[in-house]
Symmetry: C2
Subunit: 211 residues, 2 copies
């Protein structure tokens, strides 16, 4: 018997899912709540095998709820319910520790199968959403418009050392040049990378795979 907790801010959704699962002998809906905080309250006291979680909720959304719920009950299996226009955050779902995701428009059979898979800890994914997720991954390399700016070899060295938390003085020592030189390299980097400060440059360097 798989114990399920439903979480969705739309009563109709809760009702619909409950109805879908009503005749399933292996599945028992042990609760239905309408936001993340209530989820956390619920699982503190009661046993739950699978959490069916709406991504969009007031007070505490699915993502945050997943994070907190996983801390409370690391072995809890969480299935995220999404619409198909939320592809860009699907990777986050898994980073936070969810077991899988289902489309809200999923059929009864795929819902039930998904729950059973999740209960066993299997990853649950709709191929449709997976494709969207991959799209969002491939879009990553160029976070800003256009190409990575052309950086010289020396500038890259300086940038990498900045990323390693070295001061200008320390970088100068490592490269056997004066601090003025390092400062000039940084100055040029700021212009090329259009960054306000070292933090900005390092972030971009990470985005572009330079560190």
């Amino acid at each position: 018997m798989i114990k399920i907790l439903l979480a969705d801010d739309h009563q109709i959704m809760l009702g619909g899912i409950s109805a879908m699962l009503e005749n399933e002998k292996e599945i028992e809906v042990v609760g239905a709540v309408s936001n993340g905080l209530e989820v956390l309250e619920f699982i503190k006291n009661k046993e739950v095998d699978v959490l069916l979680l709406d991504l969009q909720m007031p007070v505490m959304d699915g993502l945050e709820t997943t994070m907190h719920a996983k801390k409370l009950r690391p072995k809890l299996n969480i299935l995220m319910l999404t619409t198909n226009d939320e592809g860009s955050i699907i990777t986050s779902i898994f980073k936070k520790g969810a077991t899988g995701y289902l489309l809200k428009s999923a059929s009864k059979s795929s819902l039930i199968q998904g729950i059973k898979d999740a209960a066993e800890g299997k990853k649950v994914l709709s191929s449709h959403l997976t494709a969207i997720m991959i799209d969002s991954l491939s879009e990553k390399p160029s976070p800003k418009k256009g190409e990575a700016p052309p950086i010289t070899k020396r500038e890259l060295e300086v940038l990498q050392l900045i990323a390693e938390e070295f001061t200008t003085q320390e970088i100068a020592d490592k490269l056997f040049v004066s601090t003025n030189t390092v400062a000039t390299h940084k100055r040029n980097l700021f212009v090329k990378m259009d960054a306000k400060n070292s933090v900005g440059m390092v972030k971009m360097a990470i985005d572009w795979g330079w560190i």
Copy 2:
């Protein structure tokens, strides 16, 4: 007619794939090379619709090849061939611009279907490898040893604003507190995160998925 280029450092693999595709009327193998450099040479001069690329190759591996090939021919569809023990880098495959991946142990029919899908630009994925990929995503949050330090809500806000290249003064204005307060939060962050400067904190924040 889909024009295919094969790239694998194992002659047997090349032979095997060629044989598999021999009787396919819609697919034509226009070349077979054994490393990434040869791939780039090939696609410079000749027309190719789909590139079937081994992930592990000498001289230039599949990942690097994908990156360069995509620069040369942005519309080229690349299918990566992998064994099932390389899950952790599957996300990189897509980040570099590949269209999909196939298991080397794939059946003839799934290979052919995969190629046809790829030729149309469709994402190609084996559900098995997708699960591995997602595992590697969920593992990401703690790349360094140990746990992420406990940061308060306010400290997180400050940290996120630092990452957005705001100065202490600007952060203070945004949060309606004094610069002294922001400085104190930063001070505490330095201790908690064991960072030397803001750059270090932002790097860790990225590692831990806080920004």
